[in-house]
Symmetry: C2
Subunit: 219 residues, 2 copies
DNA sequence: GTCTATAGTGAGATAGAC
DNA sequence: GTCTATCTCACTATAGAC
């Protein structure tokens, strides 16, 4: 590992920052080059084109998110606890890489990005995302079946969790206006974790009686 | 009111649909013109330029959202009930205008849209949004002070509610993949309302004892 | 691996006839 | 109000020297 970033990594960093802030169409290769300290043409030596750069940036981001979440998507922890701790780990990951949430949200919300054909690398990104969502879905379902969670609709709950965590850290200037504080200050991150965990715990946990019922179910 | 849309309204409709799907930078005036059934130059007769068109689209959308939410942001209803009913009304509004949520979310998340100076009309949009957020903030604060809601952090709760409602209906193809169903089908909308209301009620309501405490507080 | 130069396209916007 | 024609500029991408 070189202590100085390779040109390729530098380009990826710059691209990640710009794509997160402005979206695919809002970014020009000229600006990516300038901020990378390279000539415009040098970019095309490292990446086939803007499309591939975007895809590689997305892959890197999604892998980071997957790595943060993976330890909690196993079968070893109780579902509600795994959900709470997983969301905390995700928030920590977002806090460490402030562009991640925006890029994730853009990937979830944005469509019709490529007018012609999309770069083949995007499929890898889609697959990482798909696996992640599948694992999360299974976790929630396990929680419901175990009686730890209320009888929520699993897909809607997925959407709720994404909205709860990803939107907040993607909300930029408007989020900071609402918070009256930097989104990624350590106090704001700590508070967000607390609020999200409380919201999830109170909002999704099965009421006492249900949980007892489930445990005692003799069928 | 003419039964046939004026050119201006037609352009606004087309612009709204395109800006919601692709964002400001992803939309070309040529495409707006074609879908409006006009020549490119005719657009510039109705709007000073792309920036103004975007601003007008945002204003129209935000006014729709404000009108849907306004009845529940008064002081007349109990806060938790107002919150639940307000979110339902917002969901109904999103369901009626499927571009609204996306455009709202884009407005909240997107920055640095204009490279040069931004159109003056955008300030009107920002003000509508600011008033809306202020009113929502006050509602939550009233709920906490009245002891109806837990002692949540008000700004974080705002963010949570936005994420819960706006993200879902902005999530497009990915949301439909998660749901396994069209986002705006009547059954999906009904279910979303139920899930959001339950999540809010269970997740934000103060526990029984607190609510009793507050009511009996003799100080 | 980086550069200069440039091709080629499409963007936003304007002028002026009808 | 709408059109055709045109301007200027920025964009992605390539060619080829170093």
């Amino acid at each position: 590992m070189p202590s100085v970033l390779s040109s390729r990594d530098k380009i990826l960093d710059v691209g990640e920052s710009l794509f997160a802030r402005r979206g695919y169409a809002g970014v020009g290769m000229r600006e990516v080059a300038q901020l990378s300290g390279l000539g415009k043409s040098s970019l095309f030596h490292h990446f086939r084109g803007k499309g591939q750069l975007y895809a590689e940036v997305r892959i890197r981001t999604l892998k980071r998110i997957r790595d943060a979440l993976a330890p909690f998507l196993t079968l070893e922890t109780a579902p509600l606890e795994a959900l709470e701790e997983g969301m905390c780990a995700l928030i920590d990951s977002f806090a460490e890489h402030p562009t991640s949430a925006r890029l994730l949200l853009r990937g979830l919300v944005e469509e019709e990005i490529f007018s012609g054909e999309s770069p083949p690398e995007l499929e890898e990104a889609e697959q990482i995302l798909a696996e992640l969502l599948d694992d999360l879905s299974e976790l929630i379902e396990r929680g419901v079946k175990a009686g730890e969670l209320r009888a929520v609709a699993v897909p809607d709950t997925m959407q709720s969790l994404i909205g709860l965590v990803a939107y907040h850290f993607a909300s930029g200037a408007m989020g900071e206006r609402i918070l009256g504080e930097a989104l990624f200050s350590s106090s704001a991150v700590r508070r967000r974790k607390r609020e999200v965990v409380n919201f999830i715990r109170e909002g999704l946990r099965a009421p006492r009686s249900d949980r007892d019922e489930e445990r005692e179910d003799p069928t």
